[in-house]
Structures are given as C-alpha cells and as structure tokens.
C-alpha cells in the first residue's frame, strides 16, 4: 500500500482508532496484522521474506544473548515462511502463482536453519556467538543477494564469459525485487549487530520483535530504525495525547506536500531530461539534474515525513531522516543531513568496524571508499550506483585529506566562505544526482556532453519549463525558511498560530492541485 494511494487514509484512521482503544498486548498484535496487510497490498507472497528475516534474526539474537528458545520455536519459526507460501499456494487465484517447488525449498531451508541453529548450541560460547551472527548475517544477505543482486552478478558473469569467447546457454531468470527488502533487512541486521556487541538488550518477546521488523510506517522505505530506539517504544504502553495527533497530521501534510506537489511535478522534467531518446543541451542537462535533485528529495524526505507522521499518530517517534541536505557545507555534512538513518547505519556497522579513521591515512581512505561503494551498491545492482558511491567516496576523501580547506565546517557561521561551500556542494550534489538518475553509462555520457553544448538546436525550449520548476520549488523554499530555525523540516510550532493556520491551508491547497499523478515512491525500488 502506498502512502499516496486512496486506501491509505482509511487504513491509517482504522489502525489509529483501534490502537488507542486496545490495551498494550492487543495493540502489538494489531500493529503486526496491520503491517502485514500494508505490505501484503503489494504482494502477499513476499510476506514470506519478512517472516524469514523476523524468524531468523529473532532466534539468532536470542542465541547471541545466550537464551535458548524452546524447541518448538526453533522448529516452528523458520518453517513459517514455507507454511505461508503453502497457504498462498492454496489461495493461488487470489495471491498469484506459487510453484510447489518454491514451497518445498522454503520448508527445506527452514528445516536446515533449525538444524544448524540447534547444532550451534553444542559449541562453546565464543564460536557459538560467532556462529549465530554468521547464521543471521548469512541468511539475511543471502536473501538480499538473491533477490537484489543475483541478476546483476549473473549478467556480469555472462558478459565476462562472452569476452573470453564462451557462449553460456543459460536462461537468466527474471527475479522480482520485493519492495523495501533493503530497508527491513538492514534494520533487522542492525539489531543483531547491536545484540552481538551488547549495545542493546535482546528482545525476548517474539510479537514485539515481529512488530519492530515489520512496523508499517517505515517498513518499505525507512527510516531504518535502531532497536534501542524503537523496541522500547513498541514495548511500553503508550498513553494517548492530543499532541500526537497534531504533530502526526502536520508531518503527514508536509510529507504529502513534498511528495505530491514538489516531487511529482519535478519528475515530469527529470524523466524527460534523462530519457534515452531526449535531445539534451546544456540548459536541459542542468534543468534535468535540478529537477531530479528536488524530485528525489521531495519523494524520499516526503515519504519519511509521512512515515514519521503516521507513527506519531500511534504515539511512536521515528528518527529524523532528512535535515536540510541542500544546505550542507561539505560532503561529510551532506551525509549527516541526507538519508541520515542509512548514513548512520553504514557508519556504525561498516565504516567503524573497518577501522574508521583510527588507522593510517591510507586505511581511512580505504574505509571511506569501501563504505561509500557499499552504500552506492545498496541502492541497486548496477554499475551506475557503484559509480555514484565511488563519486561520493572520492569527495569525502578529498574533503578529509585535502591540504587546502575548500569547504566550510559544519558549524561555521554564515560568511562568503560558507556561502561558497554551499554553492560548491550544490554543484557536486547535482553532478552526483545526474550519475544516480542516468539509466546507463551511455546516457550519463550524453548528459556530460550536453554540458558543453549551449545551443538551442533540436532541444525543446527550456525557459518555461524552468518557470514550472521554479513555481514548484518556491513554496518548498518558503517552507524551509519557516522551519530551518527548529532544525526539523516539519517543525512549525515556533510560528504564531495564525501563520501556521495559513501555511496548513496553503499546503493542503497545493497538495490537491497536484493529485492524480500517482507516481510511486522512488526508494521503494531499493
């Protein structure tokens, strides 16, 4: 179910009312059922993957903490995905095709996991803990790897073999990418890492953990939550407060504005500029990159705002995922403002374990490069995303090790240097988005070539389109101006109530002026 689809408001209202009527335990059950319904709107069959991640990481974390679960749980939880696929098989006309082979493989893998899990308990503590960690990480990454990266790697293998003169007769399978798989896998893995390092308490209650893993507001596109932040909120009995509703509705409104008014209207120009058949010149290259920069910002930060708002209606706070990223003063600052939860995840679970900046300059450079390459690859199985990661890695290395201080510090007060830094970051970010948005390297090449051609030629007139873009960005910047004082993109409380009232009314009018686009959120594909 999409946040901008018509059933969502009804779904949310229903969940919110029931949630506040019920007691603590039934609330958790409600959230789990609601989350599975929410996810099942795309494809109920893929709920098996959510169940797998939940079952595997729940058991692995218990093992890491030394709590041996009952045999029934060890046998039953890994079999749940297979059983669910069996149900889908029975209801095939409703759910879509499910081959018996898939059901059998899911059950067999479940049994294999149970066997391995039981076997690990025979080992001494340290190897056992490493074994549980490996079991969890291996299972989650195997699922992610198969659904997200298998096609990419087999294509590369075929290309290499062809270059070597072999013609493999393989028929490459078309694998559907389940919505949000990278988000819930990383959230769940983060929990296992935290338990392994003793940074968070193990969650012994399966229902609470299942809700943590599948919590609908942030299930398909984040923010990627930390167990230490979300599980205690899910576990405790929330008390209703009108402020929850006020804040939640305001966040949803701001999120809808960013998505429906800003992102979807910018998408029109960005999609055109980056389409393979479009003739570009310099104006269109810049306009396209600018449109995409605000499309992806509005789309993703809008999603995050709606997610935070929806969760706030339930009294649960999600982390802030964006904080004025286009006001960043240096590359490092940008990643502290853009997709904050993912940046923090890579920092805590990849960069620091690799050694962070504790080693030599060379090691730090390597760690930065590796982390950004992986972050790029997280976005999708394509050379374009790897290139995008490398691009940002190069700038981060330059920022940290350049002998000349080109960029201003994050905390620097406003000056010409700060202004120049923000401007430089704009150029760097736009170039980065051009890489990110290009469907392939050839299109990226033509985009770069267009920057050297400022003739009108066969390209469409751009001035009116720039006006269209400006008309959609002006309200966004005004909103930013109103919220930047509070360092939260949805914070308007510091404004006098008459101003707030007018802003809410205007935002609502702008949202409805752009409905019926029904563009899907970009980050669902990751």
């Amino acid at each position: 179910m999409s946040f901008v689809a018509w059933p969502y408001p009804f779904f949310l209202i229903g969940v919110v009312i029931l949630y506040w009527v019920l007691g603590r335990r039934p609330r958790q059950l409600l959230l789990l059922v609601a989350s599975y319904i929410f996810y099942g709107f795309w494809d109920v069959r893929f709920l098996a993957l959510v169940m797998t991640t939940t079952g595997v990481d729940y058991l692995a974390a218990l093992g890491l903490a030394g709590h041996r679960p009952r045999f029934l749980a060890v046998l039953g939880l890994p079999l749940l995905p297979g059983l669910w696929l069996g149900v889908c098989k029975v209801l095939e006309p409703l759910t879509g095709p499910v081959p018996w082979g898939t059901v059998a493989v899911a059950l067999a893998l479940g049994l294999a996991f149970s066997g391995a899990y039981q076997g690990l308990w025979l080992l001494p503590e340290n190897p056992r803990r490493r074994g549980f960690l490996f079991l969890s990480v291996g299972s989650c990454l195997a699922i992610l790897g198969f659904f997200k990266y298998f096609g990419f790697f087999t294509q590369q293998a075929v290309a290499v073999l062809r270059n070597l003169g072999f013609e493999p007769g393989w028929v490459l399978p078309h694998i559907v990418l389940p919505v949000g798989i990278s988000f819930y896998t990383f959230q769940s893995l983060g929990y296992v890492f935290d338990v392994y390092r003793g940074r968070t308490e193990v969650c012994r209650d399966f229902l609470t953990f299942a809700v943590f893993d599948a919590y609908f507001p942030q299930l398909v596109a984040g923010p990627i939550e930390r167990a230490g932040h979300l599980i205690p909120q899910l576990d405790r009995e929330q008390v209703f407060h009108p402020a929850h509703l006020q804040e939640g509705l305001k966040m949803i409104l701001v999120g809808l504005f960013k998505k429906v008014f800003v992102a979807d209207n910018c998408a029109l120009l960005a999609n055109y500029a980056f389409a393979p058949e479009t003739t570009l010149n310099g104006y269109w290259a810049v306009l396209g990159a600018l449109a995409f920069a605000f499309q992806i910002y509005g789309d993703f930060s809008g999603y995050s705002d709606i997610a935070r708002g929806s969760s706030r209606l339930l009294g649960i706070e999600l982390v802030q995922n964006f904080r004025f990223p286009y006001l960043a003063r240096n590359p490092s600052d940008f990643w502290r403002r853009w997709h904050i939860s993912l940046s923090a995840w890579f920092r805590d679970y990849v960069y620091i374990p690799l050694g962070g900046n504790r080693g030599s300059r060379g090691e730090t450079m390597r760690n930065l490069a590796l982390t950004l390459l992986l972050a790029g690859f997280w976005h999708g199985a394509s050379w374009i995303f790897i290139l995008w990661g490398a691009y940002w890695g190069a700038f981060l290395i330059f920022y940290h090790f350049s002998p000349v201080k080109v960029f201003a510090d994050r905390e620097a007060t406003w000056s010409w240097h700060t202004f120049g830094s923000v401007l430089s970051m704009w150029i760097i970010t736009l170039m980065g988005w051009a890489i990110f948005r290009s469907p392939d390297l050839a299109r990226l090449g033509s985009w770069l070539a267009a920057l050297g051609n400022w003739d009108s030629g066969a390209a469409l007139p751009w001035a009116r389109c720039a006006l269209w873009l400006g008309l959609h960005l002006a309200p966004l910047w005004l909103l930013k101006l109103a919220t930047c004082k509070a360092q939260d993109e949805t914070a308007l409380e510091h404004l006098p109530w008459p101003v707030r009232g007018v802003i809410y009314a205007l935002l609502l009018l702008l949202v409805v002026s752009s409905t019926e686009h029904d563009q899907e959120f970009i980050y669902f594909q990751f």
Binding site: C465, W497, G501, A505
Partner: protein, 343 residues
C-alpha cells in the same frame, strides 16, 4: 477534544470553508452544475420569468453571454450556431455568427443569430445543446461539425461520471475549490508551461492520456464513427421537426514540415455530403470555401480562423441562408434591420 482543535487547525478549516462557501455564493452561476462538464441539457441556459433566456457560463458550459426571448418574436429569423472554439471565435463580435447576423440584417432580414460555440465541445455535448435549442423555436440551425474534440468530450464525460461516483479517490475533488484549483493548474498552467512533447510522453494527467490516445488509429476511428452517428441523428431529428439545418464542416490547415500547406477535412465533407442534399439540409465545407484562396491568410492556427476568415465564412453562410429562405418563400424579409441582442 478541545486540545485537538487548536487555533491553527481551526483557522485552516475556517479558511477552507470560507473559500468554498465564498466560491459557491459569489460564483453561484458558474458553480451550479459545474462538474457536469456540460453533460446536462439545461446547462448554460437560464430562463427568466419574463420569458427571456440568458446564455451564461454555467454547468460546465461556457457560453458567450447573450440573451433572447424564449418564444421567437413574429418575423424574426432565429439562427442557432452550434460549435466549438472555432464558432466561438476570439470574441462575440469577431466570430462568424455575429458577422452572419450583420450580413443578414444588411440583406433586410430581421435575423437573430446566437453563438453557441463552446471550446472543446465534441459531438456528444453539441448534441445536448442541439436538443435543448429545439425548445426555442429555431428558424435555422447551423451545426459546425468538427471531429478534433472527441478526446476532450470523452474525458469530460468520464470526469462527470467520476464526480457522481462514490469512489473515495474522488472525494477531495467534490470540494469545489479543490477541483477548480486542480483544473486550473493541470490544464492551464501545465499546458502553458510544459511542452506537449513532455506531457504526452509521460501522460501527465488524464487530459494528456487522452491526447496520447488520439494518436491511436483505432481510437481515432472510433471517434470518427461517433461524430458520424451523432451528426446523422441530429440531421434526422431536424428533418423530422422540419427545422432547416446547415452542416458546416471544419477543415484543418496542415502547414507543418517542408511540404506545401494544405487543407484536410478528415473525412467530414464526405460524411456531410451523404447527409445533406435533401430538402432542409445544406452543406457548407470550409475546405471548399478556403481552398481556392490564399487560405493561410485566413487561419490563425491549424483550425481557428482570423476575423477575415470569420467574415468570409459568414458571407458564405448568408448565401446558404438565402437558399433556405428562397425555399420557404422569403417569409422573414423585413424592410429595416433590427439591432442584435448580445449583452
């Protein structure tokens, strides 16, 4: 509950309600039946107790403001011209119905020509206007037949149906100011600022999806058939009621590319010739009228005429009217011209 209704929330709600109520109060005419999109028999015809009928912008039908007496005064030759933006012209006094009235009055006919051109009207909506004006005792109906508005007709019909529907997807659009704002942006601002190439390629909204559909040959043929059927039904009804009818068929100026400019009628002339020719129904082809001339001078764009084109067309129509009057024995000729009745 009181803590939920914060002053800011109440102000938001108040502003929206004020906007909605204000629009409905102060623009009562244009709001009334607005979302029937002209798919209503009575839209735009406002009948007064004193017998006057006013043509207004209402019910999604944006007539040019004019008025006439419900019952045709004795001796008045009343002509209704039904059409789209070509008929409507740049303004009431620069469109061929007005010039036709002047021309007929110059010839000593007490003519009253009413311009019922509504931009974007296709066969189905023109049919509704045709049915309605039969109540007003027409001496002659000029039916300007065009086949380039069918996508718009279809789109508006679907919208009208959607608006009546129960589906929650359409609930926000039941608020007048929301719907008007949406339409103003997506059909005026968007169309003005974003080139058609972009809009069509990504079929931004249903309007563009329809334009894209118009490039589908199957859809195009379907619309052609529809125009033929509706026109045929109109002719049959006019004959049955013995109301004289002129079928005025539109043509397109094709002046793109390196080929010499030409006029195309998209099969309309053949269709009209088949329907006309018998008593009471005449045919006038725009293509045949302009083809012998330096026609580019008369066209403003591919289909709309310049004032000179409107004048020429009015003279040609006046000749056809002369034929009709000759058939009826010139009952409407009067000695002095009477003034027009536009408001």
């Amino acid at each position: 509950m009181r803590r939920l209704l914060t002053p800011a929330f109440l102000l938001t709600l108040g502003l929206l309600i004020l906007g909605e109520v204000g629009a409905r109060l102060f623009f009562a005419h244009s709001v009334s039946g607005r979302f029937e999109y002209g798919f209503s028999l009575d839209a735009g015809f406002m009948e007064h107790p004193d017998g006057r009928v006013e043509l207004v912008m209402a019910g999604g039908r944006r007539f040019l403001p004019q008025s006439f007496q419900r019952k045709r005064p004795p001796g008045v030759f009343r002509v209704f011209v039904i059409g789209d933006s070509v008929t409507r012209g740049p303004s009431l006094k620069q469109a061929y119905p007005w010039f036709l009235q002047e021309e007929l009055q110059r010839q000593g006919i007490d003519a009253e020509v009413l311009n019922l051109g509504v931009a974007g009207n296709g066969a189905r909506r023109s049919r509704l206007i045709f049915l309605k004006i039969l109540d007003y005792d027409p001496s002659l109906i000029v039916l300007h037949v065009n086949n380039s508005n069918e996508y718009e007709d279809e789109r508006e019909y679907r919208r009208a149906q959607e608006f009546k529907g129960w589906h929650p997807r359409h609930w926000p659009m039941k608020v007048f100011i929301f719907r008007r704002l949406y339409e103003a942006k997506m059909e005026k601002l968007l169309w003005r600022l974003v080139p058609q190439t972009i809009r069509q390629r990504f079929a931004v909204n249903d309007a563009d999806a329809e334009v894209a559909a118009s490039q589908n040959p199957e859809k195009w043929q379907q619309w052609q058939r529809l125009v033929a059927e509706v026109t045929s039904a109109n002719v049959a009804l006019a004959r049955e009621l013995r109301v004289p009818l002129i079928l005025l068929t539109q043509c397109r100026l094709d002046a793109q590319g390196s080929n010499p400019a030409r006029l195309t009628d998209e099969g309309l002339d053949e269709m009209a010739r088949n329907l006309a020719g018998r008593a009471g129904v005449l045919h006038l082809s725009l293509k045949e009228l302009f083809a012998p001339l330096d026609f580019k001078d008369y066209f403003q764009d591919s289909s709309h005429l310049k004032p000179a084109g409107h004048q020429l067309l009015a003279r040609a129509l006046a000749e056809k009217v002369g034929e009709i009057l000759a058939q009826s024995g010139g009952a409407h000729r009067v000695s002095s011209a009477s003034p027009g009745r536009p408001e």
